[in-house]
Amino acid sequence: MVTISINQKLVGTRKSYETIGGRGFVSTPSKLRNWKKIVLTIVIVFQLTVLVIPLGLLTYDTFLLRSGDFSFDNLTLQNWIGEANPDYNDGQPGVLLNARIWKSAWNSIKLALYTALFTALLGVILGYAIVKGRGTRLSRWVEQLAYIPYVIPGIAFGAVYISMFAKKIGPLPSLYGTFALLVIVSVTKHLPYSSRSGVSAMMQVGHELEEAAMVAGAGVWKRWRSIIFPLTRSGFVSGFLLTFITTMRELSLIILLVTRETQLLASQTMWYVENNLDQMANIVIILLVLITVTGDAIIGRLGKGSLQKGLGA
C-alpha cells in the first residue's frame, strides 16, 4: 500500500501529457550511427543466452529417452507420439496422443481468452474512470484497489478464493471446481496490469476529443464506440495480450483451484514433474510457448487497423 501511494504521488501529481490530441504527430527514429553494430551485437548475444539456447536445450531434452543422456542412440519420439508402453514413462502415452492434454490445452486457451477479454475491458473502463476523476479521492481509491492483487502472491490469492467460494456463503455462490472461478480469479489477479495500461491509454487521449463529440451531439455509447475505444485500442490490445500471455503460463494462482475437469496446460506440467516425467513436462511447456506465440501474433494482427494508419504508427 505504501509503495502504491508513493507511485501515485510521483506519477499522479505530475502534469500528465496527452499525446493523442486533436493534432497529428510525426515519429522520429533516433539515429544510432556507429553504435548500431555494437547495440545489435549486445542484443543478439543477450537474446541467445536468455532465450534461444535454453529453449533449444529444452526442446532437445524432449527427444531423449532417458533424461541427461545426450548420446545419439538415446533419441526418440516416444515422449511426443509414443503409444502407452509400461516400459517407458510409467506407461503414459506420448503427450500428443494424450486426450487429457488436448482438453487442458483447450481449457488454457479458453481461460486465457476470456480472462484477457474481461480484464482488458475492465482495464479500459477503470482507466477511464480513474483518469476522468484524477485528483479526487474516489479516483485514488479505485486506483489503489485495482492494485492490491499485485502485492498478493498468486498462491495466497488462490487460497483466498478457495475459502471464499468453497461453499455457498451468504450471497457468494459455491464456485469451486467451475471454470467461471478460474476466470474470476485470473481477471482479478491481472487487473493491476490492465488498469495500468488502461490509465496510460486514457491519459494519452485529450479530454477535448470526447468533449468535441459531446458538442456534436454524441451520447455516451456513441462516444465510446466512435472516439474513446478506437483511440485507446492500442491500450486495450496491449492489456489483452499481456493478460493472455500471463494467464496462459500462470501456475501458482490456479494450482489450488483446478480440478479434474478444469485442468490447464500449466497444471499438467506440474503433474508430469511430480511424476518424474521431465521430458513430457517440457513438451507441454513447448506447446504452451507455441500456443502463446501464435495467439500473440494473431491478436496483434487483429488489433492493428485504422488507428495505426490514422496515427502514423
Binding site: G206, E208, A212, A216, G217, S226, P230, G312
Partner: protein, 362 residues
C-alpha cells in the same frame, strides 16, 4: 439564425476558487463577443458553462428563448442539444478519422440523408478554403489547416451559436493574422452569435462587436472595443488593455481641474474627484514638442524605440516616467530635451482607493 444568449447570475466554484462570481451578460443576436482576461480569470469556464461541458453552481443561461441551464430548476440541457458549435484551442479533430468523417460525425447523429451530407461537407470545406481535403487524416495537415477543418466541422451543422476557445493561440503570428480576417469574415457571413475566448487583446480589439473583460471570475467591463480602449472603467482594465501600456500617474486634486503629480500638474476635469487620484493617459494621447510652449512640461528622452509605423519614446522627469507614442519614425534622439503636452479631453481620472473611473472627458 439570430440568437440572444442571456447569462444570469452565473456562479462556479472549483474547490475554494471562485471561477465565476455572479456573472451577468446579455449577448445580442449576431454579435461577436470576446471574453478577455489574464489566465485564470474564468473566461474559459464561462464558455464551457455555455457549451454545457461544465455545470455552474448557480444561475441561469438562455440561448434564444430556451432555458438551457438553471440551477434552481435543475435544468441542464446536454451540449449536443444546445445547437452550438465549439472550436478548441488544439483543434480537437479526431485523429483516427479522415476530414470527411470528422465533418459528417455530427451530421450522422442528426440522421441527415447521405447526399445532403456530401453537399454540406463540400460547402463547409469551401467556406474555409480547404476544398479537396476530404481524404486527409488530421496528422497529414499543418496546424493552420487543421484549425480550418475544425471550423468547417462546426460550420457544417450550422449551429446558431459559435463558441471558440482561443482558436488561434496555437498558430504562428502570421497565420494568426490571416485567420483573424477569415474568422471575422465567417462570422459576418453566417450571422451566428459568437462567443470568443482569448487572452490576446489585439485579437479581442480587432474582431469583437463587444468585449467582456474578466478578472477573478468577475466581469469588469462589457463594452465595445472603442469604449474599452478609450474609457476603461477601472485601473485593471486600463492597465490590461493597450500596448504599449497606459501611463498611470499618482496625483492629488490640488485645485479646480488641476491634478498635482509632484513635479508638474495636469489639467483635467476634477468635478467628481477629490483627494488621491490616478491619471490615465494613453501613450498616443501625449503630444511631443521640440520647443517649449505654454502648458507644456519639459522632459528628457530616456529611450527612443522606433518600429516603422510608429515610435515609442520613454520620457523622464525626475522619477516620473511616461511612455509616448508617435506616428512614423521620430527624429528625437536619446537624451534630447522634449516638451510634453497633455490634452484634458483624452485623460481619464480614477479614484486611487477604489480604482474606479471617476471622470472621463468625453
Amino acid at each position: 439564425m439570430e440568437t440572444t444568449i442571456t447569462i444570469k447570475n452565473l456562479t462556479k466554484n472549483f474547490g475554494n476558487v471562485m471561477a465565476l462570481d455572479h456573472v451577468n451578460l446579455v449577448i445580442e443576436p449576431g454579435t461577436f463577443v470576446t471574453l478577455l482576461g489574464p489566465s485564470g480569470c474564468g473566461k474559459t469556464t464561462l464558455l464551457r458553462c455555455v457549451a454545457g461541458l461544465e455545470d455552474p453552481d448557480d444561475g441561469e443561461i438562455y440561448i434564444g428563448d430556451q432555458l438551457i441551464f438553471s440551477h434552481a430548476k435543475g435544468i441542464s440541457v446536454p451540449p449536443g442539444q444546445r445547437n452550438l458549435g465549439l472550436v478548441f484551442q488544439n483543434y480537437a479533430l479526431w485523429p483516427h478519422m479522415k476530414v470527411e468523417q470528422n465533418i459528417t460525425f455530427a451530421l450522422e447523429i442528426q440522421k441527415m440523408p447521405k447526399d445532403e451530407m456530401k453537399k454540406r461537407v463540400k460547402e463547409s470545406l469551401k467556406e474555409v478554403q480547404m476544398d479537396g481535403f476530404e481524404d486527409r487524416y488530421p496528422r497529414e495537415m499543418s496546424g493552420g489547416q487543421q484549425q480550418r477543418i475544425a471550423l468547417a466541422r462546426m460550420l457544417a451543422y450550422r449551429p446558431s451559436v459559435f463558441l471558440m476557445d482561443e482558436p488561434l493561440s496555437n498558430l504562428d503570428a502570421r497565420l494568426r493574422m490571416d485567420m483573424r480576417a477569415e474568422l471575422k469574415r465567417l462570422h459576418h457571413i453566417s450571422g451566428a452569435t459568437t462567443i470568443y475566448v482569448t487572452h490576446d487583446q489585439v485579437e479581442a480589439l480587432t474582431m469583437s462587436t463587444r468585449i467582456a473583460i474578466m478578472k477573478q471570475g468577475v466581469v469588469q467591463q462589457f463594452d465595445t472595443p472603442d469604449k474599452i480602449y478609450h474609457f476603461p472603467v477601472n485601473l485593471f482594465v486600463a492597465d490590461f488593455i493597450g500596448n504599449p501600456k497606459v501611463n498611470l500617474l499618482d496625483g492629488k486634486v490640488s485645485g479646480k481641474n488641476v491634478v498635482d503629480i509632484g513635479s508638474f500638474t495636469i489639467p483635467v476635469d476634477t468635478s467628481r474627484a477629490s483627494g488621491e487620484v490616478v491619471v490615465g493617459i494613453r501613450p498616443e494621447d501625449i503630444a511631443i514638442l521640440e520647443h517649449p510652449e505654454p502648458g507644456t512640461v519639459e522632459f528628457s528622452a530616456y529611450s527612443v524605440l522606433p518600429s516603422g509605423a510608429d515610435s515609442t519614446i520613454v520620457a523622464r522627469l525626475g522619477t516620473t516616467e511616461l511612455t509616448v507614442r508617435v506616428m512614423g519614425i521620430t527624429k528625437i534622439k536619446m537624451d534630447d530635451k522634449i516638451w510634453l503636452k497633455f490634452d484634458a479631453k483624452t485623460l481619464n481620472l480614477y479614484d486611487k482607493e477604489s480604482g474606479n473611473l471617476v471622470s472621463c472627458n468625453n
